[in-house]
């Protein structure tokens, strides 16, 4: 009996002829996530399995996998031989000793001597006897579920709950964008949302030292690091706009300061995006969030790109 992690994906299934492209990107990102762990990734009839990993790394591996876009759900499972005794042993490890439960079974191997319903009934009976009255069956609203999956290679997977993944599409399947990362919460969220649709993200930060401090820049580095856990890595570029800000201050009306500075930031961002092969600019602009985020202000900034 061995502990494995079952990885399921969802939206990729909807893809037609180029599904392979999406699957390859997904697999690359999965391998990247478990890189550095002593673990093995294999593809297995429409899903992936992580196996041969040390027990004490389980939680850490699951946390990493949960940040891979395209991943729908995960389950921590026991892989056993498919005879009922072994399945029962594995199920005992997953089952609680009190409460209500049900067993759900699925046969990949259609030559298996029992049907799915029979597997559920048999295993349910064994678990009931084993709990000595502590457990009750409730197929409609159980407090936990034991799931059995009979595979074609003579093995069975026995597991309990589904752990929700990040969903979305694999990063690297929808081009590249340049995220204008400010240090607030809106821009990293915007980047996260685009990465969830499969976009590769690089980050651009504007600062005006000495008018802004080094802590603010450090915070952006920290934000980019957190974001990079979801975006399969990222590059952070920083641009000093102090001289531009000073020139605007000297030559322009004071109330146009923010609008004009933003327009320069967008111009610089567009140039940089072209240089690194990014196909769009991503911002955390949110209408009405702060005083300067008016539709006029946002239109004015956008119009220089």
């Amino acid at each position: 009996m061995e502990k494995v992690i079952i990885i399921r994906y969802s939206e990729i299934y909807l893809k037609g002829k180029n599904r392979g492209f999406f699957e390859r990107a997904f697999e690359t990102n999965l391998r990247r996530a478990i890189d550095g762990f002593d673990a093995e990734l294999i593809k297995n009839s429409g899903r992936y399995l992580v196996q041969n990993f040390p027990e004490d790394q389980t939680e850490e591996i699951i946390e990493k996998l949960k940040k891979v876009f395209g991943l729908h759900t995960l389950s921590l499972a026991y892989e056993t031989s498919s005879d009922m005794d072994s399945i029962f042993e594995a199920a005992k490890l997953q089952a609680r000793t009190e409460g209500t439960f049900k067993v759900e079974s699925h046969r990949g191997d259609k030559k298996y001597p029992l049907t799915s319903v029979e597997i559920s009934k048999t295993l349910g009976g064994l678990l009931l006897d084993n709990a000595k009255g502590g457990l009750k069956v409730d197929v409609h609203n159980p407090s936990f579920t034991i799931r059995v999956d009979i595979r074609e290679n003579g093995k069975a997977l026995v597991f309990g709950e589904f752990i929700e993944g990040a969903n979305g599409m694999p990063v690297g399947t929808a081009g590249k964008g340049l995220l204008l990362l400010s240090g607030g919460i809106d821009s990293p969220v915007a980047g996260h949302m685009m990465a969830k649709r499969g976009m590769k993200i690089d980050c651009l930060h504007f600062h005006s030292y000495p008018y802004t401090n080094m802590q603010a820049k450090e915070k952006v580095v920290d934000l980019a690091k957190i974001l990079s856990e979801y975006t399969c890595g990222t590059n952070l570029y920083t641009v000093k706009v102090t001289h531009i800000q000073e020139a605007i201050h000297e030559k322009c009306k004071a109330d146009l300061m923010i609008t004009l500075l933003r327009r320069f930031m967008y111009r610089i961002a567009e140039r940089h995006a072209l240089r690194i092969g990014a196909q769009c600019l991503i911002t955390g602009e949110s209408l009405g969030q702060v005083a300067s985020q008016t539709i006029e202000g946002m239109t004015s900034s956008n119009s220089v790109v």
Binding site: Y209, N213, Q215, E246, H249
Partner: protein, 376 residues
């Protein structure tokens, strides 16, 4: 690089480092060890304790407990003795004291009271005394203010406080005073916090000086070091370095005091009065000159000075991360927000040279004028 942020921390004494190095390379034993080597360290720590204490207090009346920093010393004093009724301090204190006082309220232990300041940063003594009543259990007044450099007459204040309520425990945060200001503790002071790294010692070493007859409940419990009042294996190297650094510092205390007074006034004379306003009084510590570039932002000036090879402070380094933009201490001295926004704290050490003072003034004038021009 010219370093004028010595109130935040000072360069550790190299001579002391050399003398203390044996406590890392050879005498690395645990002082609690029952073997001769461990026991020998016990007596060396005892000597360090005595040296450090005797510089400011009568050893027959006071004792010294080593801690990890000034903040720990302040916290231990406050949380050990402010346990009921009300506790009184000033609005000029370091956050190690003010934050702990606010915590007293959160924990429902005692009602914190904050006495106002005079214009020069000293506590308004009459207002402080007015806040003390029969329910007051603890009073804490800092010796030298870390932002503006004002010196409180600690012995005098402690005496008046005890006259008003003799049961009060009187604590003083002496972190910016120890080794810098000529001073001897009077019997009216119960507890006094000091820190090594402000006088050429290392970060991670502090001490709480206490009146011997006062029972101090432990704050950190464990192996019973420091007479059971502060457990944890002693930082032998840090403590020995503290002793050596303090010996150096106290040996030249009076000369340093006079020299730095001269330098502080020289710096002020050289500064452009169109840009800078002086906040520190002449009677304050010669180690700190606090000025304000009214209408400009101190933080921007700090960055500009940094780029030109001059390191200065804006306020207490421990509180510059705080969300509050304006220093409460500067506002409490009666200055407006525009002044509080432009504060620069220039703080010196005996290693500061006259040439550095002259250069620093030139840099400060240059960047002050430049920023004022840009901000127009």
């Amino acid at each position: 690089m010219i370093y004028l942020d010595n109130a935040a921390t000072t360069k550790p004494s190299a001579k002391a480092l050399e003398r203390a190095s044996a406590y890392v390379t050879e005498k690395y034993y645990n002082p609690s060890g029952m073997y001769k080597e461990g026991f020998a360290l016990q007596s060396e720590l005892k000597k360090a304790r005595s040296v450090l204490l005797s510089k400011i207090a009568d050893e027959s009346a006071f004792e010294l407990i080593f801690t990890s920093c000034g903040t720990e010393s302040d916290n231990q004093a406050i949380f050990s003795f402010a346990r009921r009724g009300n506790a009184v301090t000033t609005v000029g204190e370091h956050s190690a004291v003010t934050a702990a006082f606010h915590e007293l309220k959160t924990r429902g232990v005692a009602e914190p009271r904050f006495a106002p300041l005079e214009k020069d940063g000293r506590v308004n003594v009459q207002a402080l005394l007015d806040m003390i009543d029969e329910k007051t259990c603890f009073v804490s007044v800092m010796h030298v203010n870390n932002e503006i450099g004002a010196i409180n007459d600690i012995n005098g204040i402690a005496k008046l406080v005890k006259q008003k309520n003799p049961r009060v425990i009187f604590h003083c945060d002496g972190v910016q005073a120890y080794g810098k200001i000529p001073f001897k503790l009077s019997k009216d002071v119960d507890l006094y916090s000091v820190s090594a790294h402000k006088i050429g010692g290392l970060k991670g070493v502090g001490a709480l000086i206490k009146r011997k007859s006062l029972q101090l409940p432990p704050y950190i419990i464990g192996g019973g070091q420091e007479g059971g009042r502060r457990s944890g294996t002693e930082n032998v190297f840090g403590i020995m370095h503290f002793q050596y650094a303090a010996e150096e510092k106290f040996a030249t205390l009076k000369e340093d005091f006079a020299t730095l007074q001269e330098y502080r006034e020289l710096l002020w004379d050289l500064l452009d009065k169109e840009v800078y306003t002086r906040l520190s009084a002449k009677e304050g510590t010669p180690y700190i000159l606090s000025v304000a570039a009214r209408g400009l932002r101190g933080e921007i000036l700090l960055h500009m000075a940094n780029d030109k090879g001059l390191i200065v402070g804006t306020g207490s380094a421990c509180s510059s991360n705080a969300k509050n933009r304006y220093s409460k201490v500067i506002l409490a001295c009666g200055h407006d927000e525009k002044t509080a926004d432009g504060v620069l704290r220039l703080s010196f050490s005996p290693q500061t040279t006259k040439e550095e003072i002259v250069q620093a003034a030139a840099i400060l004038n240059e960047i002050g004028r430049e920023l004022a021009r840009k901000m127009k």
